[in-house]
């Protein structure tokens, strides 16, 4: 009876699983994903891509509970550490221990509680390599962006200015500046050395080209390209590319009725995913390259394994326990199952 219960319980849990974030190991052979229950699962890409792969290889080889307080929204990988953040503290785990299947918390950072009885979640993490060491940027639910120095564990900076929680952060100018997108409809660019007010504020909902006021104002994702000329953002406004010099939207990527949760540059295309079950590949000038259907109805994360040539796959995670793996980016080859 109990087994039946636990069996059906696990099945139901599977139905409700949402994978918010994924990350590749530094060696490129493993994929790590985190879900809304606070679990982290590790998959072996090599096994899954082998000629004799079957359903068994599509399940995690190891999983552990990373957060007891709720979902994990963001994963990040340094050379030795896997950093996870979400509801609760920012935690770091050693890769070697993870792959040994005995993960132990190395350190954790508590998000500053500005008021009593609040426990802000971290929605997004970003990393930058400075001369001083590794800086960790975190966009938090209390409308601020915090930075820590990883070596020392000290909080180095905090940027306030957003009127609502921060969806996404990313770094630019090799970490001297950071960009944050927030629910209040603004994208702010901060100077990390100076702090204080944002040096630039972009409001996509005020521009005719990008605004979609019937969908709201919130900006869900932001990213910069390698040359630092372009900033692409999306959310309630149209997914659009802005020129950083002029801070004007230059072209929009037409996706009617779809808000975007994730965007990134990859080679000469832009990958984006949002509130429809497709991964969009765009040319930088705004034309659609392709729309690949995926198993999740809402896409939260798209990641390309750039660390490894052999296992260069594109993984799509979203509101489904299945993580789609694409070998040829044009179609989904198979799906990994986030089942514990």
């Amino acid at each position: 009876m109990k087994e039946q219960n636990s069996d059906s319980l696990s099945k139901r849990k599977l139905l409700h699983t949402t994978v918010y974030s994924q990350c590749f190991s530094p060696c490129g052979k493993y994929l790590v994903a985190a879900n809304n229950f606070g679990d982290i699962a590790v998959y072996s890409l090599v096994a899954a891509l082998a000629p004799n792969a079957d359903d068994g290889t599509r399940k995690p080889i190891y999983s552990f509970k990373a957060s007891t307080e709720g979902s994990i929204y963001s994963l990040l990988s340094t050379e030795t550490l896997l950093i996870s953040a979400g509801n609760g503290d920012i935690c770091a785990w050693k890769w070697s221990e993870i792959l040994d299947k005995a993960a132990k918390l190395v350190w954790s950072i508590k998000v500053p509680q500005l008021q009593a009885y609040t426990n802000p979640e971290i929605n997004s993490l970003a990393l930058s390599k400075q001369e001083t060491g590794l800086q960790l940027f975190a966009g938090s639910g209390d409308n601020n962006v915090y930075t820590w120095d990883i070596e020392s564990g000290q909080q180095t900076n905090s940027f306030s200015g957003h009127k609502d929680y921060v969806h996404c952060v990313c770094t630019k100018n090799s970490g001297r500046e950071c960009v944050s997108a927030s629910e209040d409809g603004t994208v702010r660019i901060w100077d990390c050395r100076v702090g204080g007010e944002a040096i630039h504020v972009l409001e996509p909902n005020k521009h005719d080209l990008t605004a979609r006021l019937d969908m709201g104002k919130w900006v869900g994702c932001v990213t910069c390209d390698n040359n630092e000329d372009w900033l692409t953002l999306g959310g309630a406004p149209h997914l659009s590319s802005w020129h950083l010099r002029s801070l004007e939207p230059i072209c929009i990527f037409n996706s009617p009725g779809v808000t975007h949760n994730y965007v990134s540059f990859y080679e000469d295309t832009i990958l984006s995913g949002g509130s429809e079950g497709y991964v969009n590949h765009w040319y930088v000038n705004g034309e659609v390259k392709r729309k690949v259907p995926c198993s999740a109805a809402n896409v939260f994360n798209i990641n390309v394994n750039t660390g490894s040539e052999n296992n260069k796959v594109l993984c799509v995670a979203g509101s489904s326990p299945k993580i789609d793996v694409c070998t040829n980016f044009g179609y989904t080859a198979f799906s990994l199952l986030f089942a514990l």
């Binding site: 060696c27 096994a47 000629p51 392709r290 070998t327 044009g330």
Partner: protein, 656 residues
Amino acid sequence: MAATDGVFDFCEARRAFNEVIHNVVNENTLDTYKNFVDNYNASESEKRVTIDQSFRDVLRELTSADRGCNVYKNFICLTIEAVTSELCTPTVPFMCLTDIFDVIPIDQCEDMFGLVEDKVSVWKSQVFYDTGKNFLLRMCNDLLRRLSKSQNTVFCGRIQLFLSRLFPLAEKSALNLMSQFNLENITLYSQIKPEPNTEENGKTDDKMETGDGEIEDNKTDTPIDYNLYRKFWSLQDFFRKPGQCYEKKFWVNFVANSDAVLEAFNSSKLDDLKASKKKIDQRRQQEPDAFFAKYLTSEKLLNLQLNDSNFRRYVLVQFLIIFQYLNAPVKFKNQASVLSDDQSNWIKSSTEKIYQLIKETPPDGEKFAKTVEHILGREEFWNKWKNDACPDFERKVSEDTKKPQRRAKRRRIGDDLQASGGKVIKMGHPELTRLWNLNPNNMDACKAEERMFLPTLEDFFQDAIEQNDPDAQVEEEYKLTNDQTFQWKALRLLARRSPQFFTNSTTPAQELKSYLNSMLSKLAKQMPSQQGEEMKTDVEDEEGIKETQDDEDIKQSDQGKEEDTENKEIVLSKKVIRDISEKIGKDWKKLAVELSFEEDEISYFMSEEQPEVEKAVKILTIWIENEPEKATASALSVALKEVGLSDVADTLSPPV
């Protein structure tokens, strides 16, 4: 050079001819040759044999001397000329061609073949065709066997084209009559799963250690989707042998694999890079299409192949071909090779998907899809042609050249009516005719006495008037006027017949019964039976006057009619009767039947011993006497036409 008398020395002759032909080759003209042949002293057949042989000999010498293609070409042209001037048998050019192709290398063959192609019209001409077609076919087949399909594809194509131009459209020799498949065309691909390497890995990383159960990295550069790879190439096996698909097990596999592949094609749309470039540049020349005889199936190529438009088109067209085969009725298929409903449905839906995918392939997807559809449509036609045992395409001249007999025109009733002066109508059936002719004039029939259903006032009211008479002493309740039906009928009749009904009376409306009684009393006064005989005689007189008037009317109309008939028709005088009878002759019997004579009457006439003509006269006269009104010239002519004596009938018709 004259041979000895009697025995024909072949060798000598041969040698002699060879020399001459060599000269001919050098000079490139046949005139000297003609003279020589004519003058040579031997019989025709002997000469013929020698000539043929010597031509071949000379050719052999030329080829062994390796004189070059141009020389060979000239030689063949010479032989053709020789045939046309009847200097050698028509087989000579063909034999020479066969010989040449047998001995020269392939590149020279291509050259020579150009000559063969150019002379297609010659080969198709009357003189050459029958003798030469088998030779040519054999020669081409030998060539094809020699050539490699992948190396000399163009040349193979040329040979096939030549054959198709040479033979008529319905030629069956190249047909795959039994619809057999090339079962040897197997596509190999790596199906064996590589064993995982479980050996210990000695090296350690700073960053991580390899755990047990881990698999060695493949030496591949990009990750390969083995699942799709296997499914994809397994399809080729089904394409090779479509018969498998009829079995349940294989069908399930086929459907699963096809669905997976089509899904992959669907997700992975092809970018139209070429097309976008074309918009900028001018319209470039069409690039020559890539062609390869066999698929390359290495795993590493799968990614590239999926992104290639041509490859995708090949595979999709393969699908369409196999679908068409599975659906098509072929005479040589097994009885068990029939698709179930589910299978047909799946095929239909997949076909639509595939056409959609084809339309999306760049460049010119739509045009390509239309072309494929058209070709498959033609294929169905050819299939049907094969099933009907390959009928010839030439239209045969129709053999049925007999003129259809002139059918007698249907007679219209109106004509009949006119012919008989409005008296007789022939309905085509004796009973109908009888019924109709009781009274041909509808109007009169309607007015006839029998059809007068409305009673006279007298008849109707007789009883009622008697009742009303106080002398009769009929009691109130027994009077007819109480009866509602009577009352109603009485009112109707009064309205029709009696003017009293409409007199304007100032008395207020009475109850119906009393009203009727008062009417009755008024009628009684007018009624002749009540009033006595005075009225009767009056009425009689009136009636008598009416009758005489009617008679006069009728007489007048009759006279009018008679005048009409006199004016319009030829009177059937004795002379006319005699004329006709002479023409009728023996056929009077038929005419008698037609003129509604009875059987016994006809037999009576037959028994009489008179010449036929007289009999004819007799029946005609009797006919006229019997039915003076109906026996008009038109009626007679109509009857004659019916019998088949149209020409006689024509004489009767009045001059226009």
